[in-house]
């Protein structure tokens, strides 16, 4: 009986694979090709011109700045949260877990609006901030805040299951051998989670650079000042400047591809190192 089962399901297997391929081809591959085709439609000159345009450069710069600030902060936060959840028992642990997931389940627009409500001109702290000359909304700090909120689950989510699975005994062993808490973290915990951490950073970074909704709400779309790459793409597109819009978009697509390649190679390495050492 049993040897027949794989035979019977082969047809089904092929159908499923074909379905997945067609789906991916239509919804992912085709748009990706379209982005690059459209970007290069008017020649390579136009393409590079769109990228070295001062507004485009400023958008790229801002995007890198936002990622450079929000990703490290979320790494620190993610490590703390994952450490607390995986290695200690405390009241309200499951509530904390759920809260970490909140940015995944809430619309990014809401995430942006929250900051407008808090720091906008009519917001709770807005008037006080304006009196003291601090601009958060329609300025870079707001963009960074919104990005942090949207991306903070990535690192924590990646680390929590990993650290829970690894348990506490390695740390206990290090402590029993006289190591301080910090040294235990550096020499035992960090090496145990490094691949997972890198994976989380990668996803966090991709989202930080590509975030549109939340950033759009708080940015104010000031050209050359508060435009990130995704916002810049939108502006160019709305101005019917398709070649330039797709040129900048192609950079984002490239980022996605690089992330994908790194992620896959990490997964390979990750899975591999797991298999060989466990």
């Amino acid at each position: 009986m049993t040897p027949r089962l794989p035979h019977q399901s082969r047809g089904l297997q092929l159908t499923l694979i074909l379905c997945a391929l067609v789906f991916i081809g239509f919804f992912l591959l085709l748009p990706l090709v379209a982005v690059f085709a459209e970007a290069l439609a008017k020649g390579f000159g136009t393409y590079t011109a769109a990228l070295v345009d001062p507004d485009a450069l400023s958008a790229i710069e801002l995007t890198l700045l936002v990622a450079a600030i929000s990703v490290p902060l979320n790494v620190v936060f993610g490590l703390c949260a994952a450490w607390a959840i995986a290695k200690f028992d405390f009241r309200g642990k499951s509530v904390l877990c759920t809260l970490i997931d909140l940015p995944f389940s809430v619309s990014p627009v809401v995430a942006g609006l929250v900051y407008v409500l808090l720091f906008g001109a009519q917001g709770w702290f807005g008037p006080w901030l304006i009196d003291h000359g601090v601009r958060i909304i329609f300025a870079v700090p707001g963009i960074i805040l919104a990005t942090i909120l949207v991306t903070f689950p990535f690192v924590a989510r990646e680390l929590i299951p990993l650290m829970e699975e690894q348990g506490r005994t390695d740390e206990e062993a290090a402590l029993a051998l006289g190591a301080s808490g910090f040294r235990t973290f550096l020499r035992v915990t960090l090496p145990n989670i490094k691949w997972g951490l890198l994976y989380g950073v990668l996803l966090c970074n991709a989202r930080a650079m590509g975030e549109f909704g939340a950033v759009s709400v708080v940015s104010g779309h000031l050209r050359g000042l508060t435009n990130t790459m995704p916002l810049h793409v939108e502006i160019l597109y709305n101005e019917y400047n398709f070649a330039a819009a797709f040129a900048v978009a192609s950079l984002l697509a490239l980022l996605a591809l690089v992330t994908l390649v790194l992620k896959t190679s990490l997964e390979w390495k990750f899975g591999y190192s797991h298999g060989s050492t466990r």
Binding site: T169, E172, A176, L177, G178, A179, S180, R187, N192
Partner: protein, 348 residues
């Protein structure tokens, strides 16, 4: 000398340990023996400083260390699954304890490596220093864990189920070797086990735990030959239990008086425990009848299984293997040569 005073610990509503008093002498090899959930591992972790009691005191040489964390107690701890650092070579694992000392007390790198090599020699793993833990067998990993714990020169060595994950042959070898090491290094060692054979073979004294309470502390001989409770006699060594009735200082089984002295028990139902080797076939046919349902060789004896009387109570007795084995389905008569009678569970 390590002493525990009135140690209690609960996890939520579950009382893991209740009012534990225990003194461990210097140089002693002590076993904490009990079934899972008896609190033995929790007790070991409290001694180590990996867990902290809700009540009570832990003292090392008279000094109160109850609130001292593990790093400051200077104990060697060997974990059940060894907890070797996967990403470090064997040599780095062994040298870890020395390499994390504060700078002022830290030996030079070369000195640490030399010391780690010495320890690997000691645990008979010379030449494997450059390997990674995943490349070693279970027995070898166990030795690395031991060498790593010994590197910080602890006075007290604590081992959590040290042989649990090993196959029978390796286990036997390692036991003997550990006992030697313990004596050679003049350590005080405490190990946790659920395997009574292991406890009896290795330990100077055995602490039998059940449901968070110490049932008995004694030498292996005392614990085996003079169990203080029904739990101890049932848990340590093979044991048969028969329901008996006590009347006038004598035990009766199924209306038949047995030649077993009963002390300190009121008349009424009780439980009689005897070991398989504390039974003999009676030549004259007098004694308890046993309907033989299974016979197999166990070393120099026949282990005979069967039901006693009509009670359906299955027991095991050992008979001399020089005699022919009883046939299956036959009935033999036996007498109990040595037994202990305990109050029924829950009554005293």
């Amino acid at each position: 000398m390590i002493s525990l005073h009135n140690i209690s610990k609960s996890f939520g509503t579950f009382a893991a340990l209740h009012d534990i008093d225990l003194t461990v002498r210097d140089g002693e090899f002590l076993a904490l023996l009990g079934p899972s959930g008896s609190g033995k591992t929790t007790l070991l972790r409290i001694i180590a400083g990996l867990a902290f009691p809700d009540e009570g005191q832990v003292r090392f040489n008279g000094e109160d260390v109850t609130d001292l964390p593990v790093a400051e107690r200077k104990v060697g701890f060997v974990f059940q699954q060894y907890a070797l650092f996967r990403h470090m070579s064997v040599l780095d694992n062994v040298g870890f304890g020395l390499s994390v000392r504060p700078r002022a007390q830290r030996p030079a790198k070369a000195r640490i490596r030399a010391r780690a090599r010495e320890l690997l020699d000691l645990v008979q793993l010379d030449g494997l220093g450059d390997r990674y833990p995943a490349q070693l067998s279970g027995g070898q990993q166990q030795r690395v864990a031991l060498a790593r714990a010994l590197a910080v020169e602890p006075q007290l060595l604590l081992l959590d189920e040290p042989f649990g994950a090993l196959d029978a042959k390796v286990r036997k070898e390692l036991r003997r070797w550990l006992r030697q090491l313990h004596e050679q290094m003049g350590l005080t060692s405490i190990f946790v086990t659920h395997d009574q054979e292991e406890a009896l073979e290795l330990a100077d004294r055995v602490v039998v735990l059940d449901r968070g309470v110490i049932e008995q502390i004694g030498t292996p001989e005392e614990v085996y030959m003079a169990p203080r409770s029904g739990f101890v006699s049932g848990f340590v060594g093979d044991c048969n239990s028969l329901p008996v009735t006590v009347s006038g200082g004598r035990a009766e089984f199924d209306g038949q008086p047995l030649d077993v002295a009963v002390e300190r028990l009121r008349d009424g139902p009780a439980r009689l425990d005897f070991r398989p080797h504390d039974a003999a076939v009676s030549a004259n046919g007098h004694g308890l009848p046993l309907h033989v349902s299974g016979v197999y060789r166990r070393g120099g004896c026949w282990r005979v299984e069967g039901a006693v009387n009509g009670s359906g109570q299955i027991i095991e007795i050992d008979l001399d293997a020089d005699q022919p084995a009883p046939r299956l389905g036959s009935q033999i008569a036996f007498s109990i040569t040595r037994a202990r009678v305990f109050a029924e569970e829950g009554t005293q």
